[in-house]
């Protein structure tokens, strides 16, 4: 697609710009556009769905539905397509101004748009799982393997191990096996004490029996397939072969050290909010001790301290796909009220059933948060384990900087270059905060996080110099 076509495609203004085409973004854009707003949805991927419903339309067209939850993504996309909202794909957002200006790049051409309201629906990212050797080629995340399955139909083959904890680990194993994949085994690092802690939330989770049954069915399917499932594993390591790629994994389970040949190791350590935009906007973030992540401060509609910017979905704290879609609709309703398109009573009437549905969708969350609370071993890595993959800064280098008087993540950048590579701290941010907190004996809330600045995606000087700001000031209706 040529740059000319892209530039002329993009309206200069919109009532609402939604960033992210996952469940929260799709539902927000659909709700707002159905009620008459001019809505533009910007998404980084080539097709709608976000990560959870990645490539859902293409798979549906080929008769590959994966499961009922994934099929729900198809219904969200259908509703979006019927709503009149405009989707712009492969648009990488690098700027959001407090006044609603949004800067993004597409096929090497940068554009600025002006929105009355911006709904940030950039979802979650997988929490880093720093182990010795996790930078070796062949070590990936479970989410990455699931994206390969959804977008390219690729299935695991050969000696593929899955290690870590969390619902996605089980879901991917089930999907991969059903698609004809092979798994060498699952190395479950869930701390054994989590089960007891989760039982305290069983009462609330009974309100989500369907979800509980689904989880049990996944576990059963993996066991029936005969995949070895090693529980209570710790001290996981990845070691290189002669070529400098993954060759072996080792871990301790049942008191014995085990070593296994491996072609691929898939890691998963839960998911955390993607805070790049909200941090760069200087929105206040709060530490959530249960989910062990920072989340941007917002009210029950998703409104933040920046009046033109709202947040919906996992980006405001991990809630899952179903709750994210509802949160998207709530943010849209409040945006419409703020724009004078909906009076407060109409907003509240429309929101009432959504709030009840949200409570149902959230019923299982405390149980899941407790059951899959991350193991401290992978929150605070030891010794020479790399923390910052880009600049190759180790945990011991971070501890040494702290011992020299470095108090927080931003100072750490000048001490070590940690967080200053191309990923802009996306992977290492939370680990850095945890390591400093543990070394100082401080709370992560007090240690804080990287100060992030726009542009939040690398941008060439050529793109910046040729920024296209569409000239037509009239909003599309």
């Amino acid at each position: 697609m040529s740059a000319e076509r892209i530039a002329t495609d993009v309206p200069a203004r919109a009532d609402i710009v939604v960033i992210g085409g996952g469940p929260a973004g799709l539902a927000a854009a659909t709700e707002a556009a159905r009620r008459g707003a001019a809505v533009v949805l910007l998404d980084e991927q080539p097709a709608l769905g976000g990560q959870v419903y990645r490539a859902v339309e293409a798979n549906r067209a080929r008769g590959k539905t994966l499961d009922a939850d994934y099929a729900e993504g198809g219904r969200l996309v259908d509703a979006f397509r019927a709503s009149g909202a405009l989707a712009i794909h492969e648009a990488s957002v690098w700027l959001v101004e407090p006044d609603g200006t949004v800067g993004f790049s597409r096929a090497g051409a940068a554009t600025l748009m002006k929105a009355e309201r911006v709904i940030v629906a950039t979802g979650a990212v997988e929490r880093a799982m720093p182990i010795p050797g996790w930078t070796l080629p062949g070590v990936m995340t479970v989410g990455a393997a699931q994206i390969l399955l959804k977008t390219a139909g690729l299935v695991p083959q050969g000696r593929v191990w899955i290690a870590g904890s969390g619902p996605l680990l089980r879901l991917y194993a089930v999907q991969a096996l059903a698609a004809g994949g092979q798994l060498a085994g699952i190395i479950d690092t869930t701390p054994p004490g989590n089960r007891r802690a989760a039982l305290r939330h069983m009462g609330g989770a009974m309100g989500a029996l369907g979800e509980l049954r689904k989880g049990l069915a996944w576990t059963q399917a993996i066991r029936q397939a005969g995949v070895p499932w090693i529980t209570g594993a710790h001290d996981l390591r990845a070691e290189a072969d002669d070529d400098g790629a993954l060759g072996t994994i080792s871990f301790t389970a049942d008191g014995a050290r085990r070593s296994e040949p491996a072609d691929t190791l898939l890691l998963h350590n839960g998911v955390v909010p993607n805070v790049q935009i909200t941090r760069a906007l200087d929105i206040e973030h709060d530490w959530n001790q249960t989910q062990r992540a920072f989340r941007p401060r917002c009210d029950a509609w998703g409104s933040t301290s920046v009046p033109a910017v709202m947040i919906a979905g996992d980006g405001a704290g991990i809630v899952g796909a179903a709750a994210s879609a509802i949160a998207g609709r709530l943010a849209a309703l409040e945006s419409l009220r703020a724009l004078g398109r909906l009076d407060q009573a109409a907003r509240d009437d429309a929101a009432a059933p959504l709030r009840r549905a949200l409570a149902r969708a959230l019923a299982i969350r405390p149980f899941l948060d407790a059951l899959f609370a991350p193991s401290p071993e992978y929150l605070v890595p030891a010794g020479e384990t790399i923390v910052c993959r880009c600049e190759e800064v180790t945990a011991s280098a971070l501890r040494q900087a702290v011992s020299l008087g470095c108090l927080g993540p931003n100072q750490l950048k000048s001490f070590t270059r940690c967080g200053m590579g191309p990923c802009q701290g996306r992977i290492c941010g939370l680990t850095v905060a945890e390591v400093i907190a543990s070394a100082r004996g401080a709370s992560v809330a007090d240690v804080g996080y990287y100060r992030l600045r726009f542009p939040i995606k690398p941008l060439t000087l050529g793109e910046l110099a040729a920024v296209h700001a569409p000239a037509d000031p009239t909003a599309p209706r």
Binding site: G143, A144, L148, C390
Partner: protein, 103 residues
């Protein structure tokens, strides 16, 4: 390692450091390479150690490659096109120096 279902025969061809590799419409560059058994896609500027895709969703920047002559592109975020030229990126991103304009 990852494999394609037998029904999904590659119908596009890209080159990696000059070697032809099959790909399918809808693949990202990183997915096409992983399907072809290519795991290491660059070496790092700091220690020249090999790296491959880690997150596949544009977060980790570990799959940076030279795609159609443009360095430091995220191979997981670029869709394949027939005839695309892919090169492994070794060490730091090369500076684009136009020697003819130099004094």
């Amino acid at each position: 390692m990852f494999a394609r279902p037998h029904s999904d025969t590659p119908h596009l061809t890209i080159t990696v450091d000059g070697q032809p590799v099959g790909a399918r419409e809808g693949d990202s560059v990183a997915a096409a390479l992983l399907a072809a058994g290519v795991v290491a896609m660059r070496s790092t500027p700091v220690s020249q150690s090999k790296r491959g895709p880690y997150c596949m969703m544009g977060v980790c920047f570990d799959c940076l490659m030279i795609i159609d002559g443009v360095p430091s592109r995220q191979a997981c975020m670029v869709s394949v096109r027939d005839g695309m030229r892919i090169e492994r990126q070794r060490g730091p991103r090369p500076l684009e120096v136009d020697t003819e304009d130099s004094p």
